[in-house]
């Protein structure tokens, strides 16, 4: 092997790129993993939840080495009202047994760990390198460019995240469209571990994951919260088009969310250690570009717009890992770069990534219903307030009161239309 030619160059040291490079290097391929951040993970804002099965697919037991935070046993759904909130709390200790279903993770440490695992398998890892172009020859992609320099490979894997420059340069898809992504703002708030356990009724090592609606001032979007070791990850994802028209800055809406009494009680006394914003693929199955490969190049992870958001479940990292694995398997099974693309698409089916995404294909329609983000959460809170209120006055008859609250938020026509639309989308 010459100094500037590898079997595979993987661009991007997120979960997709690391899973791909790890698998290839483990099977003896010469691999170069390039990451623009000074270390893998340094460009990634705070935390999230990782579904463990994905790491198990890469290598059984691998999750035990990973710097995972808390295994999630509590799933919570919150609907915020003005000064009130309704929280549904589902605890299932079965989620924490054997191979726990999911863990909260802090990306900076997860990515750094994963890149070190890649290096330990013999791959070369170059951090602090921004790949800004591709090298093409005879219609094939044969390498990458960073500044003035070039490196060559049989296959280039684009794992460069949601706004994939490489996919665009390869002509596979245009620049990301505003309506196809959500913009996420996130913050990590440090608190003593015992305090977190107490506030969320958790035992050491166990975690809670929460989604919240009614905190976006009617903009399509929602919030999430994860408990880590010694910190809480908190964030909101917004539809950028609506946010732009809204008039208020999303940081301000996020700030209001943090100071909502029901949220403040959870994070009070903590120190904010990290704040950032990032895009998320939002269109689900319909957002996946028509072409994810060209001779000499495969596109994986967020770059391929793989993501599932059901409102209750946010999945991106697991799909990134699975797609990285799919690309690696395809490359390992192909005898020429031309074969890798079709094999990759087949692996995406076999590893059940595309079938998973198809199930939720129309979910984003639900998020196109504006009332989901304001009227319905408000309705739930007002109804509960009505049911729980005792002030010595004669209350309205229950059915009448509830009907009044319902009508003050939505019309029957809207309710029927939304119900039908939701039913169709599921």
């Amino acid at each position: 092997m010459s100094d500037d030619k590898f079997d595979v160059i993987v661009v991007g040291g997120g979960p997709a790129g690391c899973a791909c490079a790890y698998t290839l290097a483990k099977q003896g391929k010469s691999v170069l993993l390039l990451e623009r951040g000074n270390s893998a993970g340094s460009k990634n804002v705070s935390g999230g939840r990782l579904y463990t099965y994905a790491l198990e697919l890469v290598e059984p037991g691998m999750y035990q080495r990973a710097p995972l935070q808390r295994k999630i046993v509590r799933e919570q759904i919150m609907m915020l009202g003005e000064g009130s909130a309704m929280t549904l709390d589902y605890v299932d200790y079965g989620f924490g047994e054997e191979v726990p279903q999911s863990y909260s993770v802090v990306r900076a440490s997860l990515d750094e760990w994963f890149a070190a695992e890649v290096e330990a398998q013999g791959a070369m890892v170059g951090a602090g390198i921004l790949v800004d172009g591709l090298v093409e020859k005879g219609g094939k992609i044969v390498g990458i460019r960073a500044g003035e320099e070039e490196m060559y490979a049989d296959v280039v894997v684009a794992a460069d995240g949601v706004n994939s420059l490489l996919g665009q340069k390869a002509g596979l898809f245009p620049d990301v469209k505003q309506h196809a992504v959500g913009i996420g703002v996130k913050e990590t708030i440090e608190l003593p571990d015992e305090v977190i356990s107490q506030r969320f009724a958790l035992k050491a090592g166990e975690g809670a994951a929460r989604v919240a609606l009614g905190c976006t001032e009617g903009i399509s979007g929602g919030a999430f919260l994860y408990t880590n070791q010694g910190s809480i990850s908190l964030g909101i994802v917004f539809n950028p088009e609506q946010a732009a028209k809204h008039g208020r800055q999303i940081q301000d809406i996020f700030q209001d969310f943090k100071t909502h009494p029901a949220i403040l009680a959870l994070i009070e006394g903590g120190t904010s250690v990290e704040y950032g914003a990032h895009l998320v693929p939002e269109m689900g199955f319909h957002g996946i570009p028509q072409r994810l490969h060209r001779e000499g190049m495969l596109v994986v992870g967020d770059a391929a717009q793989f993501g599932i958001n059901t409102g209750l479940i946010i999945r991106g990292m697991d799909l990134a890992i699975v797609s990285g694995l799919a690309a690696a398997r395809a490359i390992l099974a192909s005898s020429s770069p031309a074969e890798a693309g079709p094999l990759y698409m087949r692996q995406l089916e076999e590893l059940l990534l595309l079938p998973n995404m198809k199930v939720y294909a129309n979910f984003h329609n639900i998020f196109a219903m504006p009332r989901v983000f304001q009227q319905y959460p408000q309705l739930a809170n007002q109804a509960l307030q009505f049911l729980f209120r005792v002030d010595g006055k004669v209350p309205e008859p229950m059915a009448k009161g509830l009907l009044r609250i319902l009508k003050s938020n939505v019309s029957f026509g809207q309710l029927a239309a939304d119900g039908w639309k939701a039913y169709r989308s599921l």
């Binding site: 951090a127 003035e148 320099e149 250690v273």
Partner: protein
């Protein structure tokens, strides 16, 4: 062709250090390491010299075991080889101890025309390493260098002093302490980054430097390090109308004596 040695320090990135507001103690548990800012200029200057006239650059560092994290980084900035002394004693070493260790190592390695150091480390900024190193090695020291050229065994340097500049020439070997303005260090290119993992590094054991426990005992002892924070009042006005908020703000500013 000149043989150069650059001494550098692996410091904590001050951006990652948090100040605990309760007692002003520093929390560096999340801090990543970096090559001390001013030492990067020394590395860059050495790289530029050998790019122009050939020669070789070695790098040398004395630090805690964390110094090993610096090796790839420093090698991506030009040096052909890096030597390091990784020892817990570095945690409390003062300028004198650091200079003694570096001088002993430089003597052991031998044969350098120029030893370059940065103006001061980006953490303690004692500015002692250069002059002390020169004294211990019996070499001339050229400090506060804003510009330099090396021709044969003559170094011509512009020293920048408070309100004047001074041109000096020195016959090598010598120790040069460069100012941060001497150059703008390049960001290592992809090939430099990748090439770094193929370059050699050599550990020098502190025990092999022949320094006595007395010599390694720092005379300047750090008693404490505390953060400096501006105390803020942290008042948020949360009335629903902006006018009331502004009125309250103005009233409280006036009460503070601001007018």
């Amino acid at each position: 062709m000149p043989n150069l040695l650059v001494c550098y320090k692996w410091t904590l990135d001050e951006q990652d250090i948090k100040i605990n507001p309760a007692d002003l103690s520093l929390d560096s548990s999340r801090a990543k390491g970096k090559i001390s800012d001013f030492d990067r200029m020394a590395l860059e200057e050495a790289a530029q010299i050998v790019e122009k006239q050939g020669g070789a650059v070695d790098a040398l560092s004395y630090g805690t075991p964390a110094v090993k994290q610096s090796l790839k980084d420093v090698l991506s900035r030009g040096p052909n080889k890096v030597y390091y002394i990784a020892d817990a004693s570095a945690e409390i070493a003062d300028g004198a101890v650091t200079a003694k260790v570096l001088a002993a190592a430089a003597r052991k390695l031998g044969g350098y025309d120029l030893i370059l150091v940065g103006e001061g480390s980006s953490d303690a900024f004692n500015q002692q390493t250069g002059p002390r190193l020169a004294a211990l090695l019996g070499l001339p020291c050229v400090s506060f260098v804003a510009k330099m050229t090396l021709e044969g065994n003559t170094l011509t340097a512009t020293r920048k002093l408070a309100d004047c500049t001074e041109q000096v020439t020195v016959t090598t070997p010598a120790v040069v302490q460069v100012l941060s303005e001497i150059n703008k260090p390049r960001i290592p290119s992809m090939k430099q980054v990748l090439g770094a993992s193929k370059k050699p590094s050599g550990e020098i054991k502190l025990a092999d430097l022949g320094l006595s426990p007395q010599e390694l005992a720092p005379k300047a002892v750090r008693k404490s390090v505390k953060g400096f924070v501006m105390s803020r009042k942290n008042v948020i006005y949360k009335e629903s109308n902006a006018e009331a908020n502004v009125q309250k703000l103005v009233a409280s500013l006036a009460a503070e004596g601001l007018r």
